[in-house]
Symmetry: C2
Subunit: 347 residues, 2 copies
């Protein structure tokens, strides 16, 4: 089959690799219908996260179950399923509590020796714990498939950020970052009842989408000017629920500085310098909480899925470029150069 591999910074290829097969009785093999490229894949693409040359890549996919191991009970051949961005066993202490990202047997797609999502098929460890069945008729609905694909990462990650920030009915929320996760955080915040949602971003197509998703205000300034603008919108006090969806020094610094005393920052941007932007003395003096991290999206799928199926939630517009498997390297290039927001891979 064909699958995406990464060999060096800016060197992503589509190559022939062995077809996956069931290796353990808890495995399944999924033929990928839709996958996509994540902002966090760009860290690897740009050399910010080390990869072994030839390692697979991609951690968001949905598809059709092709084969299952003898112990797999919850999915079977022919089922349409979505996979969260990590696999998990569903039975350990952490999974039982919903923290599937800390699963004792969990792991990441594309880890050495494992398939990545950006390929034609994937061997799925702990299929019962990992995969979630979707309605079969969704397979023929392109828009719905795109929306459902966001359950594998960006939508659940946005939801995690909103929970970390403490968003609730009537909240005022600020979202630092206008990437797909930031945009999904806007959707998630609105879904949780936020009354006012301020998006920080200056890429007009993205902030327009943020408004469509529920943002009530857009702040296009950066740094100190952005902080001033947000404070102007909030009687000088700042925002109680801040979502940090980037992970850089500047984004975290902005998040801290626009937070209201006693508020919380829900952080889901993979830290790449953000520790430097996190002034602990400010957090201390102003009692700002920091909550978040890698999102246990597997846990959130059953909660978010019905809202996608009934149309309440439609994150599908985050995809603004579609490629086939052979077009994945071009997709990376487009996201790296910010000509695409998020690239869908349709097999």
């Amino acid at each position: 089959m064909r699958a995406t591999t990464i060999h060096a910074p800016f060197d992503v290829r589509v190559e022939d690799v062995p077809e996956p097969v069931v290796q353990l009785p808890t495995d399944a093999v999924v033929r990928v219908l839709r996958a996509c490229i994540c902002g966090s894949d760009l860290w690897a693409y740009r050399g910010g996260s080390a990869r072994k040359p030839g390692q697979r890549i991609g951690h968001e996919f949905l598809g059709i179950v092709e084969e299952t191991g003898s112990e797999v009970e919850t999915v079977r051949r022919g089922d349409l399923v979505v996979a969260p961005f990590m696999w998990s066993d569903s039975v350990c202490d952490y999974c039982t509590e919903g923290l599937t990202t800390s699963c004792e047997h969990g792991g990441f797609w594309g880890a050495v020796g494992y398939d990545g999502g950006q390929g034609e098929a994937v061997r799925v460890p702990f299929a019962d714990g990992t995969l979630v069945e979707l309605p079969a008729d969704a397979a023929s609905d392109d828009r719905l498939l795109s929306a459902l694909l966001t359950l594998s990462d960006v939508l659940g990650t946005g939801h995690h950020a909103a929970l970390g920030a403490g968003v609730r009915e009537g909240s005022t929320v600020a979202v630092v970052g206008d990437g797909a996760v930031g945009l999904c955080a806007v959707l998630a915040a609105r879904r949780l009842g936020a009354e006012r949602i301020v998006t920080l971003g200056r890429h007009e197509a993205r902030t327009d989408l943020a408004r469509r998703f529920g943002a009530t205000d857009v702040v296009a300034e950066r740094g100190a000017e952005a902080v001033e603008a947000v404070r102007d919108l909030t009687h000088g006090q700042g925002v109680r629920a801040v979502i940090e969806a980037v992970g850089t020094e500047q984004s975290m610094r902005t998040a801290v500085n626009i937070a209201r005393d006693g508020g919380a920052i829900g952080f889901v941007g993979v830290p790449h310098g953000s520790a430097t932007g996190l002034d602990l003395t400010v957090l201390f003096d102003r009692n700002i909480a920091l909550r978040g991290g890698v999102a246990p999206v597997r846990t959130y799928i059953p909660e978010l899925l019905p809202d996608i199926l009934d149309g309440t939630l439609d994150p599908s517009p985050v995809f603004d470029l579609t490629v086939g498997i052979e077009g994945v390297p071009a997709g990376y290039k487009a996201m790296d150069q910010r000509t695409a927001l998020k690239v869908l891979i349709a097999n």
Copy 2:
């Protein structure tokens, strides 16, 4: 009157200063009965926090109201009152929400131009918002006065740490730091229903007191060995509710490393290097929350006071050395050299 001043690192003096008087209609003057020296005063003493030469010092006191301004309504001459370690107006947005440390008109005792707690009397701004009346007969009960004095800082700060760490009925808690705040955090955690409380400390008199306050386990190791010991006590997983009551790089690093995935660190140690010990990538990967900061103890006094009055809570043993006002410099020396845990000043 006599009051403590700080002139340079290790140069704390007791000097003649003007008697305080009511300057604003919202002021009161309180004659100090009991005050004490805080671990955070030691940062100034050791030169770790800058002070203007001659600045007053001390932020924990209780005493008798001597004079009140024309607008003061809730306390009057002769009342026994306790002051939290910051003054606050009780009417701004933050005070209304209970975050008195962010009061728009708040401030710290000992700030330039203001009296400190380690003196014979104090001018109290916003007396109605700041002071809390205590039962008059407590004035003749030495032990009770000591216990009540902890409401001004250490007990409320320990309570804030326990709340930040998410302590609840049945919790397993670890407390990093065996100073007075750490010990009060043990008391607070027990009060909130913690089932298991692990104290980290190797000063035997202090860890004995921790056990008396409710600690079920003591870990005397430091650094990596402490982490291993705590993990051994918790099936290798670590502790869901961690209290960081020191503020140094090592204490924060230990707090992070003993936290269970999905847990929280309640941090109340004034940051002095702790940012360096806070590995944001670990917090991210393991979904560990960080909550805390300067404790709004004014808000906690009405909740904690009844438990002290009925004897349920007795933090008075944190004081292990008593001096008069002239003995304050010796008290600092004793705390600096760790021959005293916490010094009571009886006027």
